[in-house]
Subunit: 340 residues, 2 copies
DNA sequence: CTGAAAGCGCTTACAG
DNA sequence: CTGAAAGCGCTTACAG
């Protein structure tokens, strides 16, 4: 395993010069640089990131905290982040933390508190004050993508507007009996994604002069199997069947479609369904949805992190700070006019 | 940011003793240790992994190379690996490499070649000789989960047997016209997962004295939308419709079910479908499948890595070396007796 | 059981 | 433009 001293010796320069030649920082005569580079590649020299980090204080490594990897939205975000980070020469250290628990505390208090990452990106996690403090205390830039909990740099779609738009789409089609398959925790955590979408739904309904029956809102984990179970419960009830359904995510919507199928409820004739996300299956299932663009969101989060870390001399670390991330209503065959 | 010198001073010992007390390596008097630990926690000391790595040569970090994160199987594996690594106090650095290309070369020749990871786990990647060499040359333990390309430590299901079993299940139900939705590259890369499953299918057919028509094997990316498209092509053809279909993965099978639905082909009455994986949606869709257990596989891969790294003094680094990972045929409503 | 010293592999002022 | 030296924060023989 060659070290920089080997390169220096072979090139006939000092370690300092070798370092400068290889890193591109500081003045080096052009032919010197070439000799050094040639020497390095000849013996297969690769800099030790640990040694470099120790002196520069930079690790070229970003921690990503994410509650799931196997949900479409999160997987796409993660892929987007990974690609962008790799392109910038950064490593990605993955912390797949669940809602809460000792494991999560360990990630924030131990893993992230060490000097191994330069910054952290939190995807869809509701951060506690303590967690944010732990990072700020270590002077680690923190970029949040969705989720909640105070952080300076936050990128998010307007989930409340998403909920309103989805609901208004259904209202506009003449539906009045509109149920909502909300994300788990929507009621208890109004600031969460699930909570915001629910609030948007409620707002649209209220504006339309409709008060949903309490049983018209059912909470579910945002997965297809859970959405399926929740929808069976909602749609299987003998009375009061809704004519339309706003699912908090496309994955929930797929489950609802399957439940409707199983119960012999025709979509969209008997039941219109709208989801959120723009999942890769949405087109195949003809699902009306509010698209968002998680891969792009991940890339954006990396942009912000890089700016915060001073890579690429850009003045404003948060170009569109405050502006919500783009979304788009895509109407497909799963929604139609309310039955007479 | 306190350093170990601060802890030592506060506890009234040398840095050496503080280091020993904190790491648990070497003799330290019990009360000394307690004083050191108290001092450390009082000032919120956390060891610098970079500095420690530099001297020990160990980073407590494992690189994971994986072609997708947003396919069910890979997502589950990744989650399993992450949990197991975290529990062992290791970090996970994620490299999401696509099939091939310059990006992939950069990961192997630069990122993984540095001293930042102690070992690498390759999930479902077909490694080239050059890639394996690059790692072995750096003396990095390499554990492969599925995929192909020579590596000492390999964990894998017997994909050929999986293909045979799935096909025999259909043969046993009286089907003779059995199509196969194979994974992309099955023909060109016989050693790949897709290739092995295809080979198993062919073997079972041949054993039954049946030669599938070339048009009965269609390759597709192993995703649901791609499976959908491939199945439309396969099932939409006016002649020769198969009565059964072996899909190379559950995700492909879901796409095929949707295609059948769209074409008015009843499953299982007109068409039996069997998949592979034990996807979380399989039960909901009543899909017959050959289950495997990716989360558990990920955990197992970590076990092997840890043994290879000498954590936990276990004699044999590969307990079940050679034995294929468990799988199980789960019969559901998507397969039935062949129509008369 | 504990401490002084060397050293892991780099980078960065500081001189020249 | 280049080099000698110091130092990043730790751990590990080596003495005692």
């Amino acid at each position: 395993m060659p070290v920089i001293g080997d390169v220096a010796r072979l090139a006939g320069v000092s370690k300092a010069t070798a370092s400068r030649a290889l890193s591109g920082r500081g003045y080096v005569a052009d032919d010197t640089r070439q000799r050094v580079v040639a020497a390095a590649s000849k013996i297969g020299y690769i800099v030790s990131p640990d040694a470099a980090s120790l002196v520069t204080g930079r690790t070229k490594n970003v921690g990503v905290v994410i509650p799931f990897v196997n949900r479409w939205f999160f997987g796409e975000v993660l892929e987007g982040i990974e690609r962008a980070l790799l392109a910038a020469g950064y490593d990605l250290t993955l912390y797949n933390v669940a809602e809460t628990g000792p494991e999560r505390a360990r990630v924030f208090d131990f893993f992230l508190a060490r000097k191994r990452v330069d910054a952290v990106i939190a995807v869809g996690v509701d951060l506690s004050g303590h967690e944010v403090d732990a990072l700020e205390h270590r002077e680690k830039p923190l970029v949040c993508l969705g989720g909640s909990g105070g952080a300076a740099a936050r990128l998010a779609v307007d989930d409340r507007a998403v909920g309103t738009l989805a609901t208004e789409h259904l209202l506009h089609l003449g539906h009045t009996r509109i149920a909502h398959l909300a994300g788990a925790g929507a009621l208890d955590h109004p600031a969460s994604v699930a909570g915001q979408r629910r609030a948007g739904y409620l707002e649209a309904m209220t504006t339309a002069g409709i008060t949903p029956a309490p049983s018209d809102i059912v909470e579910t984990e945002m997965s297809t199997p859970d959405g399926y179970r929740a929808a069976l419960q909602l749609l299987g009830h003998p009375n009061h069947r809704p004519t339309a359904l706003f699912a908090a995510s496309d994955e929930v919507a797929f489950g609802a479609m399957r439940a409707a199928d199983r119960l012999g409820i025709a979509v969209p004739l008997d039941l219109s369904i709208v989801g959120v996300d723009g999942h890769e299956y949405a087109e195949m299932f003809d699902l009306t949805t509010i698209e968002q663009y998680p891969g792009e969101q991940g890339r954006l989060a990396v942009d912000v992190v890089l700016r915060l870390l001073g890579e690429g001399e850009v003045a404003d670390p948060l170009p569109d700070s405050g502006a919500p991330l783009p979304t788009r209503l895509v109407v497909r065959a799963s929604t139609t006019r309310a039955p007479r």
